[in-house]
């Protein structure tokens, strides 16, 4: 299990940037680009669950794709066990990448509609020589059992399953190649609430049994809070705050984090009258992100310097794990 005292980083993300060129305007020198992820540093410790939260388009899924090397970063790199997977030869990457798997949001499109569950699970295991052919049946039964599906279902096609069952198959597929880290990209967003809880519990249980490390990407706080040891809050391609789950919820620093918490419904009626930060306006375009602090256009605490200086993600106290990118609030707390 994740132990805060003796943790060591499994993945280190260094100065990660990912820009996507906009379509339709490829002539000329200054091609407009979407700054999906714009300079992000963090670590993922072995055995933990790191939640990444943010609005749609803030770059959280993009980070997920870079961690499993689905895309090459524009600059910066992702280190897995000290080795950069961002500029690795494709042969070496193919061997190593089975340890970094992904579970997708849309379980319908994450399974080939023309293949039975058996074939979906079998192909990667056979290709990588993870299992002998004569033990394949047994292993597939074991995997299905692990994710809570009856083994009699292995010859069905994806469309014969419900959304929750398909997500279980997606998890089984990710597990089949014996990964150490799984990026869960909004794995429960498309499911019914009751099914969401089942899948979250399954993920937690698998983490305990198999010593997995998770990156859990979501836009809702509830699920992230339930599964994560640490949470990173993202806004427009940047991490604005990162902390242990409990600490973040007890003491949110960044105005965006506060606004995010204030926006989610509270189960305690007496807290409903409290003062809240309500965000006005839309999230600015990531093609031309605001100068200075990206959040200053919507921030109630913004001062003149916020328009000019790009805030760094710094510990709120020396040596603290809790980091925030808001000098204004931090200065207020000092005083």
């Amino acid at each position: 299990m994740y132990n805060e005292e003796e943790r060591k980083p499994l993945v280190i993300v260094e100065g990660l940037k990912k820009y996507y060129p906009l379509r339709g305007s490829t002539i000329g020198k200054n091609k407009p680009v979407t700054h999906a992820v714009d300079g992000v540093d963090f670590e993922i410790f072995e055995g933990e669950t790191l939640g990444i939260v943010g609005e749609s388009g803030c770059g959280k899924s993009t980070i997920g794709r870079q961690i499993v090397a689905l895309e090459k970063p524009t600059s910066g790199r992702v280190l897995y066990q000290g080795e950069s997977i961002s500029d690795m030869s494709s042969g070496r990457l193919r061997k190593i990448r089975t340890q970094l798997q992904m579970v997708f949001q849309d379980s319908t499109s994450s399974l080939n509609p023309r293949k039975q569950v058996y074939d979906i699970l079998a192909a990667p295991m056979l290709y990588h020589g993870i299992i002998e052919k004569d033990k394949l049946d047994e292993e597939i039964n074991r995997l299905l059992d692990l994710v809570g599906l009856p083994k009699s279902m292995k010859h069905r096609y994806p469309h014969e399953f419900s959304g929750g069952q398909r997500q279980r198959i997606g998890i089984a597929k990710a597990l089949s190649v014996k990964p150490r880290l799984i990026v869960c990209d909004e794995p429960v967003s498309a499911l019914d609430v009751s099914v969401q809880a089942q899948i979250l519990n399954l993920l937690k249980q698998l983490q305990n049994e198999l010593k997995l490390t998770y990156v859990f990407i979501a836009h809702g706080l509830g699920a992230v809070r339930y599964v994560s040891n640490r949470i990173a809050i993202m806004y427009l391609g940047r991490i604005v705050e990162i902390a242990n789950t409990q600490e973040l919820f007890d003491d949110p620093i960044h105005p965006y984090t506060q606004a995010l918490f204030d926006a989610s419904p509270l189960p305690a009626p007496k807290l409903r009258g409290r003062q809240r930060i309500v965000l006005k306006g839309e999230i600015p375009s990531s093609v031309n992100p605001p100068k200075g602090c990206r959040f200053h256009t919507r921030c109630p605490y913004a001062i003149e310097s916020c328009r000019i200086d790009d805030p760094e993600l710094i510990p709120i106290k020396p040596g603290s794990d809790h980091k925030a990118a808001c000098p204004v609030i931090l200065a207020q707390r000092e005083a």
């Binding site: 090397a69 990448r97 992904m102 058996y118 049946d137």
Partner: protein, 291 residues
């Protein structure tokens, strides 16, 4: 092996679903029976044909009779036998040309769509170039250069018809490449050849099959047109097109209907029924359709 029996059972169930949906199109079912019937006749032509199709007799230009069911042509060859052999040739040309063009189109489309970038640009510009030529002119010029003949016409049609299939497959691959199951296989470290041929290709087979039926119909028409113009299958080998070619003169057209009506009607029926089958197939294999 317990799982094999289960596997075939489920494969059968999807297959049965396709058949069930196909059967709803009565015209298509009728067309399929008709096509099968004609195909069997064509294949069995050497057994069924009452005469040697190229044997000349002294009964010139006779109207249909009990002895010659569809009459005889100007040099006394039995028209029924010729028609059987002609169908055999025309179906073969159409089928072979379709197989070649679909194969080329699928391979190029897969490569262009999956790898993208420069490869895609090169392949698609070649495709556009071929498509921008007037089709019949291209075929005629090619036929003039390589000379008429059965295999030449098959190869010419095969190598001219592929751009449509290539574009279709490329478009499909572009959207399939973005699906999570393809990404999931990339993440699982599966090689490109597996992803292309085992994950992407099976998902493009449906549209390709439907497209191929229309290429089949068009190839039969093209062969007829070329042979009619004397650039296709060379006499004495009979094809549906060069039978029509023998009916160019106004006297034959007006007074000797048995020399051209059967071949003309057969071409129309073949093309129409192939298209009906193609349409029904499109509906039947659509995976989003229920029941």
């Amino acid at each position: 092996m317990n799982h094999n029996s289960g596997a075939s059972e489920y494969k059968n169930s999807t297959f049965r679903m396709v058949i069930k949906r196909f059967r709803k199109h009565k015209l298509a079912v009728a067309s399929l029976y008709f096509l099968s019937f004609i195909t069997i006749l064509a294949i069995l032509a050497p057994i069924i044909a009452p005469y040697d199709p190229n044997k000349v007799s002294t009964a010139f230009s006779r109207p249909p009779s009990l002895k010659h069911w569809l009459g005889t042509d100007q040099i006394g060859r039995d028209m029924f036998s010729r028609l059987l052999y002609a169908t055999r040739i025309s179906l073969f040309v159409g089928f072979a040309a379709t197989v070649i063009s679909t194969f080329i189109g699928v391979i190029l489309g897969l490569i262009a769509g999956y790898f993208g970038g420069v490869v895609d640009i090169i392949i698609m510009r070649i495709t556009d170039t071929i498509m921008s030529f007037p089709y019949i002119l291209l075929v005629l010029v090619a036929a003039a250069i390589f000379g008429p003949g059965l295999w030449n016409i098959i190869l010419i049609l095969g190598f001219v018809d592929w751009p449509g299939a290539a574009r279709l497959v490329r478009g499909n691959v572009l959207s399939l490449r973005e699906t999570n199951f393809v990404k999931g296989n990339v993440v699982a470290g599966m090689p490109n050849r597996y992803i292309l041929f085992s994950e992407i290709l099976p998902n493009t087979i449906g549209p390709v099959l439907v497209y191929a039926t229309s290429v089949f119909a068009i190839s039969i028409l093209d062969e007829s047109a070329l042979s009619f113009l004397g650039m296709g299958v060379r006499p004495p080998t009979a094809s549906l097109g060069n039978i029509l070619n023998g009916a160019e003169s106004i006297t034959i057209l007006t007074s000797k209907f048995w020399l051209w009506v059967p071949a003309g009607v057969l071409i129309i029926l073949l093309v129409v029924s192939i298209n009906f089958v193609g349409d029904a197939l499109r509906d039947a294999i659509d995976p989003s359709a229920k029941e």
